[in-house]
């Protein structure tokens, strides 16, 4: 077995435990998308073309609320800005790769793949080490597409009375729960949440997500300047 394939499989093995939470997330996405009136084909296209859980759910939320295209695109862009951080961290390990592989691996660079590959890449200097990200991301891709399909089928069975749309805030809450332990994060969370809630009706074009995120980031800039943080 050549080293690329070996590292690819190592990525699959390492990312596997992180796939457990992706299963309900993907199913919830499929169910909600059908609930909100999107077709199975559009739902599937979102999982393949966008391939990002948070982006897809924000898309659903804003699209079904009748937000404008510009607001949807800028909100998805804002949610994605964390990926730039991943790319930044990984770029030094991928500088020797051909542009083709950079494109492929970028498509598969999701939160879970970054989480497991970050430590692997730091401790290995094999020239093909970036294929670890590919293995992790491809695993996540298969799980995400499969669970989207399951969700699409369940979406037409699950009654609306269950109020499954409440799973959206719960999912994001779950992703944030470790930040509830840090003071600056708590302040940023409360500021952003209040701006979004109070601005929901006041801010035009459903731009409350972007406005709240911008205010929250400015608050984080100010707070981190004045409060020493040690991670």
């Amino acid at each position: 077995m050549n080293s690329k394939l070996k590292i690819f499989f190592k990525g699959i093995v390492d990312v596997s435990p992180l796939m457990i939470p992706v299963v309900p997330f993907g199913i919830i996405f499929g169910v909600l998308s059908i609930d909100l009136g999107l077709t199975p084909i559009t739902t599937m296209a979102m999982s393949i073309i966008i391939f990002g859980g948070a982006s897809q759910i924000i898309f659903l939320q804003l699209f079904s609320a009748g937000a404008s295209s510009l607001v949807i695109l800028s909100s998805v862009g804002a949610v994605n800005s964390r990926h730039m951080l991943y790319g930044l961290v990984l770029s030094e390990h991928m500088s020797d790769l051909k542009i083709f592989w950079k494109i492929i691996i970028s498509y598969f660079l999701v939160d879970q793949a970054f989480a497991v590959s970050n430590s692997y890449l730091k401790n290995n200097d094999n020239k093909d080490r970036a294929f670890h990200v590919f293995g992790g991301g491809a695993t996540c891709w298969v799980v995400w597409q499969t669970t989207t399909i399951i969700g699409i089928f369940l979406g037409s069975v699950i009654p609306e009375k269950l109020g499954l749309s409440f799973a959206i805030p719960l999912t994001f809450l779950a992703l944030l729960v470790n930040d509830f332990r840090k003071l600056i994060n708590i302040i940023v969370i409360i500021i952003s949440g209040l701006v979004a809630t109070l601005g929901y009706e006041l801010i035009p074009f459903k731009a409350y997500v972007i406005v709240a995120a911008a205010v929250g980031l400015i608050a984080a800039m100010i707070l981190t300047k004045f409060m020493r943080i040690k991670e």
Binding site: I168, L175, D179, F180, R181, I190, A213
Partner: protein
């Protein structure tokens, strides 16, 4: 159809947010300061989804009383802090929400 072009644009934005740093920018362009601020991106964006979905009803009115979502969210946060587990957080919130709407508030 507008939703198709939107999905494709969102796909491009998502792809380029992952690709841009790997392919286009130099590492030196990012100072430690920018990195610290970027680490707050989830804390700045996710509450903008969470808070209105919990505190506002479908018509956009503020709902502080008789709102089972607030209780369910608090339970989810507590379970999340204890277990540090994503699924446990989501399902504890959902199950307490169902318990409240179908048994207590009904």
């Amino acid at each position: 159809m507008i939703e198709w072009s939107l999905i494709i644009y969102c796909g491009l934005i998502t792809f380029f947010s992952r690709f841009s740093m790997i392919a286009l920018l130099k590492k030196e362009m990012f100072t430690d300061r920018i990195r610290v601020v970027l680490s707050f991106v989830p804390s700045a964006i996710f509450p903008a989804i969470i808070f209105p979905a919990i505190f506002l009803n479908n018509a956009g009115d503020f709902m502080l009383e008789n709102n089972p979502k607030i209780f369910a969210a608090v339970i989810a946060i507590i379970i999340g802090l204890i277990t540090k587990n994503v699924i446990a957080t989501i399902f504890s919130g959902l199950i307490s929400y169902w318990f409240l709407i179908f048994i207590i508030f009904s």
